[in-house]
């Protein structure tokens, strides 16, 4: 069996996550709806899970989440996004249909992953009281970010999948 994490994969993942992270922080902050920006990094992890399976999705989610936890605007407890995106990568890998999935197959998966990711993040925040916000506010923010994520998944997931396929045409599950 081929090694799980190869250099091209790692590089592609790193580039995709970094671009998503920077765009999420700098570009989409201008387009924020009531202060909520789309979770581009989450969608990249979804694409990774869909392309490489749940195990690499898990690892990619952990790494991307850790970056998201540490990159400048963030001030929450480190590990919250890591945990949430791990779950996202895992769920994406498990639910993803093998082969080259059609839109009707991967789009619901992306939506479910967005729900899982934002929920895990929000719940960890509730548990850690970091920052302490009411459940009502939490649900409102979650709803807006779900709409963002489901909408932008249509753009981000195909783009990222295409990047992964271009980097390693023969290794992507197909």
């Amino acid at each position: 069996m081929s090694p799980l994490v190869t250099l091209p994969r790692a590089l592609a993942l790193f580039v995709a996550v970094s671009v998503a992270l920077v765009l999420q922080a700098s570009l989409f902050s201008h387009l924020a709806v009531r202060g909520v920006v789309p979770d581009l990094v989450l969608l990249v992890v979804v694409a990774a899970g869909l392309s490489y399976g749940s195990e690499l999705g898990l690892v990619a989610g952990f790494g991307a989440g850790l970056l998201l936890d540490l990159a400048p605007p963030a001030d929450h407890v480190v590990g919250r996004w890591a945990l949430a995106l791990m779950a996202v990568g895992y769920v994406a890998g498990r639910l993803g249909a093998p082969g080259r999935p059609r839109l009707t197959q991967w789009w619901p998966v992306a939506a479910a992953c967005a729900f899982v990711g934002t929920s895990v993040f929000a719940l960890s925040g509730l548990l850690l009281r970091d920052p302490y916000v009411g459940v009502g506010e939490l649900l409102r923010v979650e709803l807006v970010s779900m709409v963002w994520d489901v909408g932008l998944a249509l753009v981000v997931v195909p783009l990222t999948t295409a990047l992964f396929a271009r980097v390693e045409p023969d290794r992507v599950l197909a």
Partner: protein, 317 residues
């Protein structure tokens, strides 16, 4: 059985059929338990480490990541910022009109505030002057403001001040401002008083030329403003006052209607009429009657008043 084993691997549905012993490969769709456990534990550890001690342990990590992603975010923002500002340029005429109206309103408010700043400052200075006057002329003063000015059509030079009998003002009291003599109180109501200005044509004030102590009578000409002048007729016809001499009030018995020693004005010019064998000096009054605001009514010290009385020593009682 061989049929099943010979099926190509890599497809999860068939792997599941295949599972029967420990030698079978794990499902490719499912990650190793150890990996999941390790990563979850790593997350928990990170959270714990960050949660205690206010995240001091994680701060170096944040710093390192920030050093990398901070410049990237700045660079993207430098590109995106101007583009993101584009919607602000695209605005409807209606919006702009509304904004112009709003700004004009604000402008007017600020302008009026600016205007009253000068006004307030001037009034403060006038009160200051009045306090100084009370000290200079040695009388107690009831401060008052001019609230109305008689119309020029009436040919009477009178003003209304906002101090009346309740403030301790009675008729035939001297009214001064920070610069000098204003006039005398004609009549009072409970809250206002009518003041006859010295420039009124009916007004006669006993005056004394400061340097020589020569006495005379000052008559108003009935005009206001910068051109307002008083005529001084000296009792001693032979004396010629010099230009720039100060004229002060002569004073009446019991200080009514005029107290002594209040500056009235300065000698501007002297005319002698051979036919009438009198001399007439033109006096430039010290007070600008067209801009009267804060004045003081000379009252006996210790007068009961509904407002603060400026005492002789300049204190407010």
């Amino acid at each position: 059985m061989t049929d099943l084993l010979s099926r190509p691997r890599g497809r999860p549905a068939e792997d599941r059929l295949n599972r029967r012993g420990s030698l079978e490969p794990r499902e490719p769709g499912r990650p190793r338990r150890s990996l999941v456990l390790a990563l979850v534990l790593a997350c928990a550890t990170l959270m714990t480490v960050d949660h205690v001690n206010d995240g001091a342990a994680v701060d170096p990590l944040r710093r390192v990541v920030g050093e990398v992603y901070g410049p990237a975010e700045r660079a993207v923002d430098a590109v995106v910022g101007p583009v993101a500002a584009v919607p602000q340029w695209l605005r409807s005429r209606h919006d702009l009109t509304g904004e112009i109206q709003q700004l004009e309103t604000e402008n007017d408010q600020l302008r009026s505030r600016l205007a009253t700043v000068d006004y307030d400052r001037n009034r403060l200075r006038e009160y200051d002057d009045l306090t100084a006057t009370a000290e200079t002329i040695g009388y107690a003063l009831v401060p008052a403001r001019v609230v109305a000015m008689g119309p020029a059509q009436s040919f009477n030079r009178t003003v209304t001040i906002d101090a009346g009998s309740k403030a301790g003002v009675v008729p035939d009291q001297t009214v001064v401002s920070g610069d000098g003599l204003v006039g005398r109180v004609l009549r009072v109501t409970s809250s206002t008083a009518t003041v006859l200005l010295v420039t009124d044509a009916d007004s006669t004030v006993g005056g004394r030329v400061g340097r020589s102590m020569k006495v005379g009578f000052l008559h108003g000409r009935g005009d206001l403003g910068d051109g307002a002048r008083l005529d001084l007729e000296l009792v001693d016809q032979s004396y010629v006052p010099s230009q720039g001499e100060t004229v002060v009030t002569w004073g009446s018995q019991d200080g009514a209607p005029y107290v002594a020693g209040v500056p009235i004005g300065t000698v501007e010019s002297v005319y002698s009429s051979l036919r009438e064998t009198t001399q007439r000096a033109v006096i430039d009054p010290a007070v600008d009657f067209s801009a009267l605001d804060v004045v003081g009514v000379v009252v006996p010290s210790g007068t009961r008043s509904d407002r603060g009385v400026i005492e002789v020593d300049g204190s407010l009682r």
